[in-house]
């Protein structure tokens, strides 16, 4: 039964990925202007024939000179070879190269945020659940309400202005030489940590509260279950009951949140990266979008969608391990 479930989930994921690839190709082309007319309006005494030649050259340059179907098959052929094409940027760098250049820097922020958020959030959540109704719990609930009203870019700007520009505790924005001069030396790593401090802090506040809130609710729900009462009746230690019985059984919603955050790991946080000049995937996508760099946009989208699909698949499979009752869903 479980194998059937796994195979079905994998096939379903492959199907979704195929749809994503197709949409990813066609959506950017909807309403695409003729690049020639966009970049090179007719000049001076130019004749229609001369201008048509210019338009043909530009279409060829941007790969629009063949039929859409031909472009699509070329695109699929490239993908099958792991070739995401070349960017429209000067020098035509490869899309994959550009992505690989930025991805590690996004991971620095997202993985740090996820780990700090997860560990701290779960701890706070357990504490709030254990101290239900007391100040620790009230504080979490209030913080949660405030965080809903405060978007992360606002927190980022406040942190940049006060901790960065005013107090100069951390760099207000990323050192432009951080990436180009990076080596695995301790000083270089410390420099990255310094520069990453404010972006991570901006993102981690919301992440902590989100995990804490989820953990608190799950723990409270499980605490009232019969098996916890039985454990207490058996005279088990309080610590054993909390961590072995209650926390383990409260993991399902936390795994869901974690799965969702994993899928967002490589996408980057556009606004946070913008505020702190962090050269990550978010700003790469923004650059691609601003300059109508379709190959780059498509490459990023493919990678993001592929990663999300895999993350969701893995989350679904982990569900099965954590809770044997979660299997096919349609037959029990």
């Amino acid at each position: 039964m479980k194998y059937t479930y796994v195979i079905k989930r994998i096939l379903y994921s492959v199907f979704v990925f195929a749809v994503v690839i197709t949409l990813n190709f066609f959506i950017p082309r909807i309403g695409v202007d003729d690049p020639a007319e966009r970049y090179y309006p007719p000049q001076g005494n130019m004749s229609e024939i001369e201008y048509e030649i210019i338009k043909q050259v530009t279409r060829k340059q941007y790969g629009f000179h063949v039929s859409t179907w031909q472009q699509y098959t070329n695109y699929l052929e490239g993908l099958s070879r792991g070739d995401l094409g070349s960017s429209f940027r000067p020098g035509s760098p490869s899309v994959l190269g550009l992505i690989l250049e930025r991805l590690p820097w996004t991971l620095v922020l997202s993985v740090s945020t996820m780990l700090i958020g997860l560990i701290t959030g779960v701890l706070f959540g357990v504490l709030a659940a254990v101290k239900r109704g007391r100040w620790q719990d009230t504080m979490l609930l209030n913080a949660s309400t405030i965080m809903i009203a405060l978007p992360s870019f606002f927190i980022a700007l406040i942190l940049s202005f006060y901790l960065g520009f005013e107090l100069e505790v951390f760099p207000a924005y990323t050192d432009p030489n951080m990436v180009s001069s990076f080596s695995w030396a301790l000083e270089s790593i410390r420099r990255v940590a310094q520069n990453a401090a404010l972006p991570v802090l901006s993102m981690v506040v919301g992440s902590v509260i989100s995990y804490a809130q989820g953990t608190r609710n799950a723990v409270i729900a499980v605490t009232n279950e019969d098996f916890v009462l039985t454990a207490r009746a058996k005279g088990l230690k309080q610590g054993t009951i909390r961590y072995k019985h209650i926390l383990r059984n409260s993991m399902l919603p936390i795994v869901t949140s974690l799965g969702m955050s994993i899928s967002g790991l490589i996408g980057g946080q556009v606004v946070i990266e913008q505020v702190f000049n962090w050269n990550g995937m978010g700003t790469l996508f923004l650059e691609a979008n601003n300059s109508n760099d379709y190959p780059l946009m498509m490459g990023i989208m493919i990678l993001l969608s592929g990663f999300t699909i895999v993350a969701i698949l893995v989350t679904d499979l982990v569900y099965v391990l954590l809770d044997p009752r979660v299997t096919v869903g349609d037959k029990r």
Binding site: G44, I54, A197
Partner: protein, 620 residues
């Protein structure tokens, strides 16, 4: 357990800032000879193709690294020396067509080239004899020849923009074969054409054949950045073109280490997609009148900021000297309370206009849009617009009123005041507008809006989110004549989505007309139907004839007269109605450098500023 972990967390939270504090207190502008410039972009280019794209900071950097033959001074209508030192039209014998005082003799030009058998104009260009490329090689007319030649030969350049810039040059390639030569130097057929060039001048004189339009020289002189032949010719081939989509190592190296003739050189080793460092060329050929270097500044470091508020704060806190990006007038009050801040509130070049869809394609016509085709209705709408109020409310006063003929009043040689014939008194304007509309759509609904066949007269104005403020004030102004307007988002591809397909009522469009661009812009805005800036598909035969005559006259005085005659015609169409021209606001710090210049249409980071900047006492 929880307590222990919480303690660990608290300790970590205390330690991290301590680590972060180290090394932050260093000066943000460490080099006293470098001008630190903030630029709000998403990224800087990491490779520099010679003819860079027109987006972001690329053209600014290109203009600093490379030079064109001349630059154009809008105010005087003259070409200023750059690589080129002098130019003039010549007759068939190569003799200059100049007046006694050395200016172009347009009457004679018309006399010499007026007849139809003359199919092109002949131009002689003399370049400076002391120019070197940044790698030390001398710059000669062979570099000029190479640049124009490859620009016209797309099989080698693969650059559509270059084809567009040189479309008026009578030098043509067909499938990579030269079919018509229009460039002549001492070594490239000048003598055969009857142009005498002394051997001593062989590196500095070039003749050009161009189409018979006075504006032909503009893109040739100012858009084509001259390239070093010795750098590009050895590596450019049919397989590896100048603008290569898959550059090999050699071409990529040249993209990353540009060799130019401009006043600045790129520090390729220290530049990346977050900062660009340029150093002044001590051997730049142009100097001040006393022979001293044109620029005193040693280096410029462009710093990337992706968020405007962060960039503004960086300026206020002394991380940068100049913010090379236009800022909103909303920030004027913030800067007013700051010390050491210079605000450049320069007159703008682009007039914001309200464009009417006057002649939509048949499938997009409807009774309401038919109203827009009515000149009287458009006149009423134009009368309802109060430019003064829009400037005050939308721009916080940082703007100026624009002529209905869409020509800057400061361009005294071209501006025609007869274009501004509508009454100036606000009450009179509204009364006249309501009188006109009472004839067209007298009925009103309970809210006071006019009705047409029982339906409210309501139009959508296509705009970007940043233009919602303006549209809100237009809403209030048009309400006074009973016409409703609503904001409609134009999206990222408005041309193909709405404008070229006539799927709009009204839209906003920034326009800028001057002698340097009207040959191209007048037809594009008012004459040509199809995929041009004539979004509302205006058709006016009389205007078309005037534009045609203006473009093709060889007499500059006649051209001026026709430009003046065209302005009232444009105004009377009420097709692109001016709303205002906003100022270009930018800021700089004055604690280290002084001498910032306010230049029309430019930010404080302009060529005049770079030539004038000097260190202050505190900056030394």
């Amino acid at each position: 357990m929880v307590r222990r972990l919480m303690l660990l967390l608290v300790v970590s939270i205390i330690i991290i800032p301590l680590v972060g504090c180290q090394g932050i207190s260093q000066s943000h502008r460490p080099d006293p000879d470098t001008l630190y410039v903030g630029s709000v972009q998403t990224s800087f280019p990491a490779a520099y193709m010679p003819w860079l794209s027109r987006e972001g900071i690329a053209p600014t950097i290109a203009g600093l690294l490379y030079d064109s033959l001349f630059s154009y001074d809008e105010d005087s209508g003259t070409y200023l020396p750059s690589i080129g030192m002098d130019w003039y039209y010549v007759d068939e014998n190569g003799l200059p067509i100049l007046t006694e005082d050395g200016t172009i003799d347009y009457a004679r030009l018309e006399e010499v080239y007026g007849s139809p058998e003359h199919q092109f104009l002949r131009i002689k260009v003399v370049i400076h004899d002391n120019i070197t490329w940044s790698d030390g090689e001398p710059l000669t007319v062979e570099d000029v020849y190479y640049s124009f030649d490859i620009a016209t030969n797309n099989t080698l350049s693969n650059h559509a923009g270059a084809l567009a810039w040189t479309s008026d040059l009578r030098h043509n390639y067909t499938n990579g074969v030269l079919t018509q030569q229009g460039l002549f130097t001492y070594d490239r057929g000048a003598a055969r054409q009857g142009y005498e060039i002394a051997e001593a001048d062989k590196d500095t004189v070039i003749y050009l054949h161009v189409n018979k339009v006075l504006g032909s020289v503009m893109p040739l002189f100012t858009s084509v950045l001259i390239l070093p032949q010795h750098v590009w010719e050895p590596v450019v081939s049919l397989e590896h073109q100048l603008n290569s989509t898959s550059p090999n190592e050699e071409i990529l190296y040249r993209y990353r280490n540009p060799v130019g003739s401009g006043s600045w050189v790129l520090n390729a080793a220290k530049s990346n997609n977050q900062q660009i460092i340029l150093h002044r060329r001590p051997d730049y050929h142009l100097t001040k009148e006393d022979g001293s270097p044109l620029i005193e500044l040693e280096s410029i470091q462009f710093m990337l900021y992706q968020e405007i508020n962060v960039a503004i704060y960086a300026l206020l806190k002394g991380h940068i000297d100049v913010l090379g990006t236009t800022v909103s007038s909303n920030y004027l009050r913030l800067f007013a309370s700051e010390e050491d801040i210079f605000v450049s509130n320069a007159p703008g070049e682009f007039a914001q206009t309200l464009v009417f869809n006057v002649h939509p394609v048949s499938s997009e016509r409807n009774p309401l849009r038919d109203l827009l085709a009515n000149n009287d209705f458009r006149r009423a709408m134009a009368l309802a617009i109060d430019q003064e109020e829009l400037i005050e409310k939308v721009l916080d006063g940082a703007g100026r009123q624009e002529s209905a003929g869409l020509m800057k009043a400061s361009l005294v040689d071209f501006y025609n005041p007869r274009a501004d014939s509508l009454p100036t008194d606000r009450e009179m304007r509204l009364a006249e507008a309501n009188t006109i509309l009472d004839q067209i759509a007298p009925e009103r609904d309970s809210a006071g809006y006019r009705l047409l066949a029982g339906k409210r007269v309501s139009f959508e104005i296509l705009g970007s989110p940043g233009e919602q403020d303006l549209i809100s004030y237009l809403q209030i102004q048009f309400q006074k004549i009973g016409v409703d307007v609503q904001y409609a988002a134009k999206g990222t591809q408005p041309e193909s989505t709405y404008l070229y397909t006539s799927r709009f009522d009204l839209t906003l469009h920034g326009v800028s007309f001057s002698l340097s661009n009207i040959d191209i812009m007048y037809p594009a805005h008012f004459q040509t139907l199809g995929r041009t800036s004539n979004y509302g598909r205006l058709v006016n035969e009389e205007l078309n004839e005037a534009i045609h005559a203006m473009r093709f006259t060889l007499n500059l005085n006649t051209k001026y007269d026709l430009i003046k005659a065209i302005q009232p015609m444009i105004a009377e169409e009420f097709y692109k109605v001016p709303l205002y021209t906003s100022n270009v606001i930018s800021v700089a710090r004055t604690d280290r450098f002084a001498g910032y210049q306010v230049v029309d249409g430019s930010t404080v980071l302009n060529s005049l500023t770079l030539e004038s900047l000097r260190k202050t006492e505190r900056g030394r």
